[in-house]
Amino acid sequence: MQKNRSSSRSQLGSLQRLFQHGDRPWQGVIILVSALVIILMITIGGMLWVQSAGARVKFGWSFLAPTANPNWDPVNDNFQAWPFLFGTLLTSIFAILFALPIGLGIAIFLAELCPAWLRTPLTWMVELLAAIPSVIYGLWGIFIFLPKVVAPVGVFLGDTLGKVPLLGALFTGPIPASGASRLAASLILTIMIIPTIAAVSRDVFMAIPGSQREAAKALGATEWETIWQVLIPYGRSGILGAVILGLGRALGETMAVTMVIGNSIQGGVSLLEAGYSMASIIANEFAEAVSPLHTAALLEIGLILFIITLLLNIVARFLVWQVARQTPQEARV
């Protein structure tokens, strides 16, 4: 009896040693789960690739080719994605153009100028802009932002910039009476990506060592000259990273854009016309797509979005990482 118990205890002991008191299974589990997260990312791309096979095989690269007479015909199963690509790119690029100066201004204000007691509440408010659900932006956009801001601004732009040769092509009016247009989408996107650009570039400014500021000021530079001629060039690649992250967010934004862009498939290039974006064609048509080819074409648009955001993320992380690397671990005064 005594002997039996001690032998079973030693068996248990050797078993415990074998599993290192439970550490082997524990490590196994966390390694497995981490690997699953990585596999999940790959699977998203893989699933879209496989499921969009029908459209990829049938249309090839002509699916993406620029065209003046876009063809999107679910009845005859003929699809071209150009108007959506163009709408997404145009609205996102204009959103970046508007949001970069504002976001950079906020970052400078928060990191360099703002009194300490105001910094936290202001940072939070800017971040709350990113927390409001996109569909609420859309609702506010349809009923308030479009009639009160976009329509008057659109008319004004059509009357002034629309008359300028060359550039005028982007601003040929008239804007639809409701205001629903690519311009509206650009402006809503601007508001939505300002927090991203502001937060990332604020971190970039915070990471720049204090010695840079002290050196510039010791040479007689004013506060603004320090910022413009020293800090911004120093953090250039980090700010570029912020822009790319903002671009990624703008490209994939769905609900707010769908609600204000006007949802019209056409070949025009003007910012003041109603348009369409890649995310909004998926949102509008996916649940109602009947033919397998229609579904596959929409999935291919999703695949393109995935690839673009993947590439943008890689570039942005690389840039931000580079700034962190070149900055010595020196406490900022």
């Binding site: 524990w26 997260v37 699977t43 499921q51 100066p101 204000f109 609420i136």
Partner: protein
């Protein structure tokens, strides 16, 4: 000569004035831009509170939607649907998210750790509509129909990166001495992780869950192709029917998650685009409920995390 020196001096003074003026102008501009960016925030909050507040009442929370064009009714189906879908998402995302965060916090520099951080970054950048397409491909296609379950999977993928990152950050804030003390007393690694590190970081981790939940609850795009929407969805009725039909508890639960469900953001999107004024008013009320939930969770989570970070660092 003296004339030249005088000119130089005048030039220097005027240039100095110019630089000072430029300094003042540009510095104030950054302040103005910050204020400008906050205008939409207050504009949106004000309109949603005013218009939503006017249309919100008790019926709104306890009745199903009425047929189109009829006033009254509520959005009970959407409220129940949102609860079901976000609960499923939390169920699918939290356990793997926490386990992966343990790995990321413990081994940040192994090849797997680097790959994990990269995948987390990429996942958080994938547009939510693309996640919806993914959930459609892995859930709706094999099951053959839309369901709350598929919506839960989509929202879980959206929550996962937030959960991994916040949990990892909170685990890293736990002082190394706690960990060393536990290991020194002979506790194995897993016991240290689960009964020392996790409780020490737990309130921060829970805040991270809430932030992720708030984000997921406001997502619309991935639900379009997974839960689809269902204005007749009513858990109470499903339960009553199930009990009357003498079905087992799990069969009833399964029938709740295995059918198309409504959700608040989805209802908001549909109502906002309908030409019926009653529906548009309901849309504002839905927006108010959704926005209050998201803002309250966000603000309280941030206050909590900040206090905690300060306490742990200090």
């Amino acid at each position: 000569m003296s004339h030249f020196a005088e000119l130089m001096e005048r030039n220097r003074v005027s240039r100095g004035r110019q630089r000072k003026a430029a300094n003042t102008a540009m510095l104030s501009l950054t302040g103005v831009l910050t204020a400008l960016a906050l205008v939409p925030l207050f504009w949106i909050i004000a309109y949603v509170v005013i218009r939503g507040g006017k249309n919100i009442n008790l019926d709104f929370f306890i009745h199903l939607p009425r047929p189109l064009g009829m006033a009254g009714g509520g959005v009970l189906s959407a409220i129940e649907g949102t609860l079901v879908v976000t609960f499923l998402a939390a169920l699918f995302a939290i356990p793997p998210g926490v386990l992966a965060a343990f790995y990321a916090a413990r081994y940040p520099n192994t090849p797997l750790g680097v790959a994990l951080r990269f995948s987390t970054d990429v996942l958080s950048g994938v547009p939510s509509i693309v996640v919806g397409l993914f959930a459609y491909a892995v859930m709706v296609v094999p099951m053959g129909h839309y369901s709350g379950l598929a919506g839960g999977v989509a929202l879980a993928v959206i929550m996962l990166p937030t959960i991994i990152r916040t949990t990892e950050e909170m685990l890293k804030l736990v002082p190394a001495t706690l960990r060393e003390a536990s290991l020194g007393l002979g506790a194995p690694e897993w016991k240290t992780s689960l009964s020392v590190l996790f409780p020490a970081a737990s309130s921060g981790i829970v805040t991270g869950f809430l932030l992720a939940l708030a984000r997921a609850a406001g997502e619309t795009a991935p639900l379009l192709m997974t839960t689809l929407g269902n204005e007749r969805f009513d858990i109470g009725q499903i339960f009553r029917a199930g009990v009357q039909g003498h079905k087992s508890f799990f069969t009833i639960l399964w029938s709740i998650v295995n059918q198309p469900v409504d959700s608040l953001p989805l209802a908001l999107w549909k109502y906002a685009q309908q030409p019926y004024p009653e529906r548009v008013q309901q849309a504002w009320a839905v927006a108010l409920v959704l926005m209050l939930f998201v803002l309250i969770v966000n603000v309280s989570a941030r206050v909590w995390i900040q206090n905690r970070t300060r306490r742990m660092k200090g």
